[in-house]
């Protein structure tokens, strides 16, 4: 799904055709009532059409052809706005259709008891209720959201995530949540259903992408109020122009009062149709961009809140650092050569398949030229890590006897050394402390040789420095966030020393060390009490309280059901850095609204210069000085303004769907740039546009 969504072009033939049809259907006045600006345009269009019919009957206020032209362009204004909305919706609908396909005709084996081998009923997925136990075997589709209570299986979740590599789902722990519509590839699962039909994750996702449940977001409502207010004042300004004009004609003793057609044209040109027509498209497109980023938000409100986030809480592991630590240096004890230490370290790790172990072998090879050796050829015996010894290592038969090499945490190795009659050298202790202070993890390497006569004293060889590897490019992203005014806080279970070192390296603003769920919750509450909006990601059940408390909470799709319920967004890619993109999408949505509002209002200046001299040309010819664009005739001037007003909506549809380009920068810099582009641009562009249309109309003899 995601792959196809991301590559979908802005205007796809089939989508556009469907949108044209939808645009016509949306002419229904009941639909327009939702939007005061466009409803006004609807009334104006209908009214002008009436004037045209009256004019056909021979009682018109002016040429029927002119009234018809105005009426048609007013209807077009409405259609273009509808088209924008339909395009935005269409993109969501196409995705919803593909989601719906994975939902079709699923049969479920509902267990009568807790025993998976016991009797079951074959039922339709739609008949399942919360608490039902179902058995899903290889090749079957999971009938509903739920929690694995028994079994392990590989599951293909590509229907939801677009990621075709299968994932493991098993009972207990953080990988127990399964989503309806996904496919079990191997083995079997017993699942306790956790949602009723129509309320599942897939259902919510379909509703969301379709925009069926789309409610206006808080900022959208506030903007709506402002736009409605402006519409009202322009309505008054144009409606009162009729008596003013009648009075002026009498006072000046010449000309005729302004026609209703002209007044209606003026009204539609002045009210903020550009933003009014594109407002809902912007909102839908914002949700759509979220879906393309593979994030499902439970509401538009959450998307919008993302733009306001002041503080990001990020888990260290997996978000800021790669999941695993890596060996970065061999630090020998006094009297031991680096080469000897590297050799011993490599030998002890040859059979160690943990990521840390592999990284030691890699460091020995790249840093010290030690080729990887075949552990079987050496006849070595691998000693794996156990909770008792807390060490791993290798036993090598050699000419002097059996050589034991061990590596492990400092305390564990110290015990080992003492037990074998050795001592932990002081210089090594200092090294261990230094590494800890610098945010690394020390692994001490020790050896002893056991021959037939007994054990020789053991000795410590040195320390392997393991380090958390901060993800490439993450520091720059944090710098971007700081520029945007967002504070980053790293959450980690590490001790404060280690945490501070990693925080400094990653460039986060603050950190919470030795974090417990309570500490996280407390931190979020503290920030919120200070008036800040907090965003966080989480996947485990123990994250749920903090997720519920955070203003923007992104749960990983791989996480537990509890986490998903607590969050207001789900990241299908389970990528914790996604938060940064989410914030950007939220901001982009607001910026697009602000930019188009500014553009729309700034446009009015030029429209006044086009229409006012034309409207009063007969009463006060001196007002012709205001016709700075030197438009051809009063009729062509008014028609050009109306046509420009309609066409500018079409021209801005791509911007509304794609969103204003967002660059991380401080508020002042962003405002300056957008004011320049959309404010100043909004003042200048219509002068050129209206003049060009007027020239075309005059050249083609389309207006008197």
């Amino acid at each position: 799904m995601s792959a196809s969504a991301q590559s979908r072009p802005l205007f796809e033939g089939a989508l556009a055709r469907r949108a044209v049809l939808d645009a016509l259907l949306k002419l229904n006045p009941l639909h327009q009532l939702r939007n005061p600006v466009m409803f006004t345009v609807w009334v104006c269009s209908a009214f002008t059409t009436g004037l045209w019919i009256q004019a056909l009957g021979g009682h018109g206020e002016t040429r029927p052809g002119f009234i018809l032209a105005i009426a048609l362009w007013l209807w077009f204004t409405l259609l273009f706005a509808n088209f924008a909305e339909a395009m935005a919706e269409g993109r969501g609908k196409a995705q919803a259709d593909s989601l719906r396909r994975s939902k079709r005709d699923v049969r479920a084996k509902r267990l009568r008891g807790a025993d998976r081998l016991g009797p079951f009923d074959a039922v339709d997925a739609l008949d399942l209720r919360i608490g039902d136990l179902v058995l899903v075997e290889a090749g079957a589709t999971i009938p509903g959201d739920g929690e694995v209570v028994e079994g392990v299986a590989s599951v293909n979740e590509s229907a939801i995530t677009g990621e075709s590599a299968p994932v493991i789902r098993e009972s207990g722990g953080d990988r127990s949540a399964v989503t309806g519509g996904t496919l079990v590839l191997s083995d079997w699962l017993v699942i306790r259903v956790s949602s009723n039909p129509g309320d599942s994750f897939l259902d919510r996702m379909i509703a969301m992408v379709e925009g069926a449940k789309r409610q206006k977001t808080p900022n959208e409502i506030a903007l709506d109020i402002l736009l409605a207010g402006l519409t009202l004042v322009f309505l008054l300004a144009t409606a009162t122009l009729l008596p003013y004009s009648i009075f002026s004609v009498r006072a000046a003793g010449q000309g005729s009062p302004v026609t209703l057609t002209v007044l209606v044209s003026l009204l539609v040109c002045l009210i903020p149709t550009t933003i009014g027509g594109l407002l809902s498209a912007i909102g839908i497109a914002g949700m759509d961009r979220m879906i393309q980023a593979n994030v499902i938000a439970t509401s538009g409100r959450a998307v919008e809140a993302a733009g306001d986030v002041d503080v990001l809480l990020l888990d260290k592991t997996g978000t800021i650092t790669l999941g695993n630590r890596e060996a970065v240096a061999f630090l020998p004890a006094d009297g031991v050569s680096v080469a000897a230490l590297a050799d011993a370290a490599q030998l002890s790790s040859l059979a160690d398949e943990t990521p840390e172990g592999r990284s030691i072998v890699v460091l020995a090879k790249t840093g010290h030229g030690l080729r990887e050796r075949d552990i079987h050829a050496l006849d070595a015996h691998f000693v794996p890590f156990t909770a008792q010894t807390r060490m791993s290592g290798v036993n090598l038969p050699g000419p002097g006897g059996m050589r034991e090499i061990r590596k492990g945490a400092a305390t564990a190795v110290e015990d080992y050394l003492h037990a074998a009659g050795g001592a932990f050298p002081e210089d090594l202790r200092r090294l261990v402390e230094q590494i800890s202070m610098a945010g690394g993890t020390p692994l001490v390497v020790a050896e002893r040789v056991v021959d037939g006569a007994g054990a020789a004293p053991s000795r410590a060889l040195g320390v392997i420095q393991l380090k958390d590897i901060v993800k490439g490019g993450i520091k720059e992203r944090f710098a971007d966030l700081r520029g945007m005014g967002i504070k980053t806080v790293m959450i980690t279970g590490d001790n404060p020393l280690t945490a501070a070192a990693i925080a400094a390296e990653a460039g986060v603003d603050d950190f919470l060390a030795q974090a417990t769920p309570e500490a996280k919750l407390k931190l979020i509450r503290e920030y919120q009490a200070g008036g800040r909006l907090v965003a966080m990601t989480g996947d485990g059940t123990n994250d749920a309280p903090a997720l519920a408390q955070a203003d923007v909470a992104v749960a990983m799709n791989s996480g537990t059901q509890a986490a998903k319920e607590a969050g207001n967004m789900v990241d299908l890619d389970s990528n914790p850095t996604k938060l940064i993109e989410i914030v950007e999408i939220g901001k982009q949505m607001l910026m697009t609204r602000g930019a188009l509002t500014t553009f729309s209002i700034a446009n009015d200046v030029a429209k006044y210069f086009a229409i006012l001299p034309a409207a009063f040309a007969t009463t006060y010819p001196a007002l012709g000085v205001l016709n700075v664009m030197r438009l051809h005739s009063p009729e062509s001037a008014i028609l050009s303004a109306v046509i420009f007003n309609a066409l500018v909506i079409v021209a801005l549809i791509p911007l509304a769907l794609r969103g204003v380009k967002y660059r991380p920068a401080g508020a002042a810099a962003l405002l300056q740039r957008n004011l320049l582009v959309y404010g100043l641009g909004g003042l200048v562009v219509p002068f050129a546009g209206i003049k060009a249309i007027d020239w075309l109309l005059a050249t083609l003899h389309l207006a008197a």
């Binding site: 903007l223 402002l226 207010g229 004042v233 009162t240 006072a251 005014g485 008036g531 607001l590 200046v605």
Partner: protein, 558 residues
């Protein structure tokens, strides 16, 4: 032109210099801190509050609004009764009779709403008692009302998660006692030194029998200017030699008009703990003022082309309707200041300004009286525009808009829209009635676009509580007395109510700490944005009507 620039420079310089310490002083008063006047006035304040039975407890916005409305209602009724019954009351040396109901109502509303629209001639209509106990008292109280409303709004910004907005009664008493009374006292003495009359005596009669009106003028003129009321003692207002005798008295009066509105910006900055915010608003006001002044002054310094055609030499510019002792510079500055602020006192006939020179005062009024504006009302009006500016530019930087840490959401936008849009709506509809209804049309005596401008000016002046007039219109008719009174009421309380509701909603909100993602509201960029919003809203609303009035007239002048 050199003296004109010099005068303007001296004026603005002195205004800005004086406004800072006065603003600090007002800020201290509104925050209940001790000031230099407390030893003398605090006992009076305590006595007054005890007399009123006020404990000074915090009021929620509804209680605060209720107190303000009740206070204004009682004040208005008192003035109405006084005007109706002045014939039977003392201090009436001129034996003035009671006023007709429509005029009494209009005047009572006019002085209660700080408009001071006068459709009567002061010296031929009012007894001394009416002038002093009715009109002058309302001059103080209407100004104090607006200061109290402003104080509530500013507290809404400054407080976090709080319900109270302060105590309306305490604010009213303190504004009057510590701010308006002492300033008026000093200013009245300064005026008397310039020859403004101050006496309880009635008119004196010359040998030829002509009556020369006298009265307690200086005391009333002081508060008329300081409180941006504008209601003159005499019909000729500040053009009358007993009300404004010298160029210096004129300069002082102009200074008095803008002094408190400018100082309130500083008081605002102090109260929200960020003086830069006050400076930014003051800068926007000052820049708009300078632009307006330059336009009026240059328009008036040009001779009237129609008089030039018949060979009249006009070396001093367009002097029609102006006092020679003030000249074009002193008149242009006065006209700009009195309409920038919602004062409405005049030292010339605005009707006789050139079309462009008259357009500027008219448009300043139509902007909503926010370029300095009325005492208190100018700043709360400007803050409404700041919220619109913040809303649009906040969206443009991708955050829920916030001003001074308060998020601006749907409810705030609703109140802001109502407060900003009601006065223009009344202006537009009122003017339409004025040019349409047969009952209203006979009042228009001038032909052509000028007659239209007179009607537009009257409704603009009333709905924005300015009070000055384009004199050519006969407004003392039942139609105008009633409709303009309605316009004044809507313009005043249609703004005060949403502003107080806004204050209540803002006070309940958290304060978001400032960060790099916060849109700074003290920068030149924001000042420019704010000016842009004020001008654009004003232009978009009134361009069509202005085109049929002063613009058509100016362009027809050849």
């Amino acid at each position: 032109m050199n003296t004109a620039w010099l005068q303007a420079l001296a004026y603005l310089g002195l205004l800005l210099i004086l406004s800072a310490p006065l603003g600090t002083y007002i800020g201290r008063i509104l925050e209940g801190e001790r000031t230099i006047l407390h030893p003398a006035l605090a006992p009076v304040e305590r006595a007054l509050l005890r007399l009123m039975g006020v404990q000074g407890e915090e009021m929620e916005w509804k209680a605060y609004t209720g107190a303000i409305l009740l206070f204004n209602l009682l004040g208005g009724l008192a003035v109405f009764a006084l005007l109706k019954g002045q014939g039977h009351l003392p201090l009436n040396p001129g034996h003035m009779g009671g006023l007709p109901t429509d005029l009494a109502f209009n005047t009572a509303v006019s002085f209660t709403t700080n408009t001071n629209w006068q459709t009567y001639g002061g010296e031929t209509t009012m007894s001394h008692l009416s002038q002093m106990l009715g009109l002058a008292v309302q001059n103080f109280l209407s100004a104090a009302t607006a200061i109290a409303v402003l104080a509530a709004l500013v507290r809404g910004f400054a407080r976090r998660e709080s319900k109270g907005l302060g105590n309306a009664w305490v604010d009213l008493v303190r504004s009057t006692l510590y701010i308006l009374l002492p300033l008026s006292f000093i200013f009245a003495l300064a005026l008397v030194s310039q020859g403004v009359v101050q006496t309880f005596a009635g008119a004196v009669h010359t040998a030829s029998g002509q009556g020369i009106a006298l009265g307690p003028v200086a005391s009333q003129v002081a508060i008329k200017m300081l409180g941006t009321n504008g209601g003159g003692f005499f019909n000729a207002n500040a053009a009358h030699p007993f009300e404004n005798p010298t160029p210096l008295s004129s300069f002082l009066q102009m200074l008095a008009i803008l002094l408190i509105p400018a100082a309130l910006c500083h008081a605002f900055g102090r109260m929200v703990r960020d003086r830069r915010q006050g400076w930014a608003l003051l800068a926007a006001m000052t820049l708009l003022f300078v632009g307006a002044l330059a336009t009026t002054a240059s328009a008036e310094s040009r001779p009237n082309p129609q008089l030039a055609q018949i060979g009249v030499a006009q070396p001093a510019g367009n002097m029609e309707g102006k006092e020679v002792r003030f000249g074009v510079p002193g008149t242009a500055l006065f006209a700009t200041a009195t309409t920038a602020a919602s004062c409405g006192a005049v030292n010339s006939t605005h009707d006789s300004l050139s079309p462009l020179g008259g357009l500027v005062p008219l448009w300043l009024i139509q902007l909503g009286e926010v370029v300095f504006g009325g005492v208190g009302s100018g700043l709360y009006g400007m803050l409404l525009f700041a919220l619109v500016g913040v809303f649009i530019s906040g969206l443009m930087v991708g955050r829920t808009p916030e001003y001074l840490g308060k998020k601006i959401e749907a409810f705030e936008m609703k109140m802001v829209s109502i407060a900003i849009l009601l006065p223009p709506a009344v202006v537009l509809v009122g003017t339409a009635l004025g040019v349409l209804l047969p009952a209203a049309l006979p009042s228009v005596s001038n032909p052509g676009p000028h007659g239209f401008t007179e009607v537009l000016y009257a409704f603009s002046s009333a709905a924005n509580n300015n009070g000055s007039a384009f004199a050519g219109l006969n407004a003392n008719t039942p139609f105008y007395n009633w409709t303009l009174a309605f316009a004044m009421l809507v313009g005043r309380y249609g703004t005060i109510l949403p502003v107080l509701a806004l204050a209540g909603s803002l006070a309940r909100k958290k304060i978001t700490p400032e960060g790099p993602g916060t849109l700074p509201t003290h920068t030149p960029l924001f000042v420019a944005t704010l000016m842009g919003v004020v001008l654009l809203v004003g232009a978009l609303t009134f361009l069509p009507s202005l085109a049929l009035g002063p613009i058509a007239e100016q362009l027809s002048l050849r």
